[in-house]
Amino acid sequence: MDLSELIEIAEHERASRRSIRIRCCTALGCQSAGALSLKQRLEEAATEVERQDIEVIGVGCMGLCGNGPLVMVDPDGVLYEHVRAADAPSIVAALDGGEATAPLGDPQHPFFTGQKRIVLEHSGIIDPERIESYIAAGGYQALYHVLHEMTPADVIDVITRSGLRGRGGAGYPTGLKWATVAKSHGNRKFVVCNADEGDPGAFMDRSIIESDPHKVLEGMAIAAYAVGADQGYVYVRAEYPLAIQRLQKAIAQARRLGVLGAQIFDAGFTFRVDIRVGAGAFVCGEETALMASIEGRRGQPRPRPPYPAESGLWGQPTLINNVETYANIAPIIRHGAEWFASIGTETSKGTKVFALTGKIRHTGLIEVPMGATLRQIVEEMGGGVPDGHVKAVQTGGPSGGCIPATLLDTPVDYESVQRVGSIMGSGGMVVMDDATHMVDVAHFYMEFCKDESCGKCIPCRAGTAQMLHMLDVIRAGQATPADLEQLEQLCLMVKETSLCGLGQSAPNPVLSTLKYFRAEYEALLNHNADRATTEP
């Protein structure tokens, strides 16, 4: 495989396209609403009218998951929502001036126009099950360029200058991480993609893999070249069967074309990728626990240092990045570090993908430049709460916090979100309205953390159980003001002394709701009680 063959595949693919393309979303959300039978009906309808200029293709997520199944017709850009299989013939007939029975969507809605798509640039446009479709969109050319025209140090330099930071939540500078792994010595090095998207309410990584799996693989291959690794693992959670299936297919196709495997692009670079399927443990999103799980052990974290960059899988230097981080790599190589650094804010460059869910009119997946405000995202793009008001926006899942409506003008970047007591996290954004009681929310997350605590360190194992118990007592109306104070102290203790991120961040939902919605806790207190409630 060389560049001319790659370009040939791209040209052949583009030449074989028909002028009218009916794109049907086949990602999980739309599939659950019947997209597969719809796609089949569309294909049949297109065949029945005997027109050679129409094609029906299955694509990845178009974003507006709450209104699925979605169908988009090119080149006119007509969007249909809530499409049923029975609507298929009318959609095809509409091409000849008929009227479609499916409701029309508005592609000019701020939900779409407010976005800047880098990670999701191909999502909803290419066929995720065909490598040719990705190559036609310029895929794998960045990898070719890197292997033939750049040294590993050049690649790391570009990524460093781009200002890209880890999209898994912590925001560690990606270039710095790569440089550390490149410098570390080992018999072998590994590249790991963390696709163990465990935060409830987040589905960015699932959607990226389901919609554009090759982009993640290309990013991993470039990373492997930069740090000197020859083996990669994608750790995907078992709850994502469609993502696993598409990734398997993508890896097999890439191997067959020689863009993964031995001697990629005849450049003396070898890189293989295997999938490891998780087994339902939230803590495995933590990097040391994830590595333990890849090694076939219980997913329990260990103290750091040593960091995985020095001693990771089987004691060898290991690079671990999130799905979205890898998906940013090929565009940065293609357009340059300066281009990427020009998007976003001073300290947070590029874009961020968010899963917008909860009590909101338009639910789905959006990608916005860093620094967009919560108000823009929730009220303009998401359309606000249907019949009601935004009470709070929860970001960062069980590790994050609730940002009250009064702070909706907070720009979304790593530092600003942290300043208001939450975290950027991986990108889940759950909108809550007046009907949501914040003590219940804190209880919901604490129950989650208690169940998911791996049990290795005491502050987390015993602390989460104790905090949950105290929340139970508060909810039952039996707690005293002293109990509330004790809960706060316990939160701080667990935060400071837990071994890994799970325990360190488990108190966040309680602390942030206490900070902004203390009155809701106080309304539940029993001021006459004098009993202590420390025994679970």
């Binding site: 999980l28 078992a238 399927v277 890849i294 076939g296 929860q394 989650f448």
Partner: protein, 174 residues
């Protein structure tokens, strides 16, 4: 032990003494991973796929094949939520309790299902017909609240709709 190496049947050629063909498929999965201990989780996934759940005997068999202490295999199998040590019902109803589903009322859905079936989440009806389970988050938050009925994800659910699903499952007698 009286059994010597030469007496041990080679995995590929001989069927499992029980005559159960599923062991042959499990053996193939282990062979694919060259019986490497780090493939334990992959092997457990395959075993559960084939047998429906992980019995103690099955875990011992895997431990023996991968040359791992049984404690290690048991430890891993019990650590991860996905692995089940008890048989599941013929049909399953999984209510997602992720945040988006929670905010949109999944607790009421689960309560209705529990009441109707007369069992708690995480258990199976006494006749072994329906298992009621909960999920952390299926990542289908765009169509919350979601319920998975026999493997099919359905969105925008209500307590009434879920009771209809359950009734339908109840009528599907094997």
């Amino acid at each position: 032990m009286a059994v010597t190496r030469s007496q041990r049947p080679t995995p590929e050629s001989a069927p499992h003494p029980s005559g159960d063909n599923r062991f042959r498929l499990l053996e193939a999965a282990m062979k694919k991973h060259q019986y490497r201990p780090d493939a334990l989780i992959e092997v457990l996934h395959r075993a559960q796929e084939l047998f429906g759940y992980l019995s103690t005997d099955l875990l011992l068999y895997i431990a023996h094949s991968l040359h791992l202490p049984p404690s290690r295999v048991y430890g891993v199998a019990t650590f991860y939520h996905f692995f089940s040590m008890a048989p599941k019902g013929q049909h399953s109803c999984v209510v997602c309790l992720g945040t988006a589903c929670y905010v949109r009322g999944s607790a009421a859905i689960l309560a209705a299902a529990e009441r109707h079936l007369g069992i708690k989440a995480g258990t199976t009806t006494p006749d072994g017909h329906i298992s009621l389970e909960t999920a952390r988050c299926l990542g289908a938050c765009g169509i919350a609240p979601t319920v998975v009925v026999d493997g099919t994800v359905t969105g925008h659910q209500t307590p009434e709709q879920v009771l209809i699903w359950i009734e339908r499952l109840a009528q599907m007698v094997e």
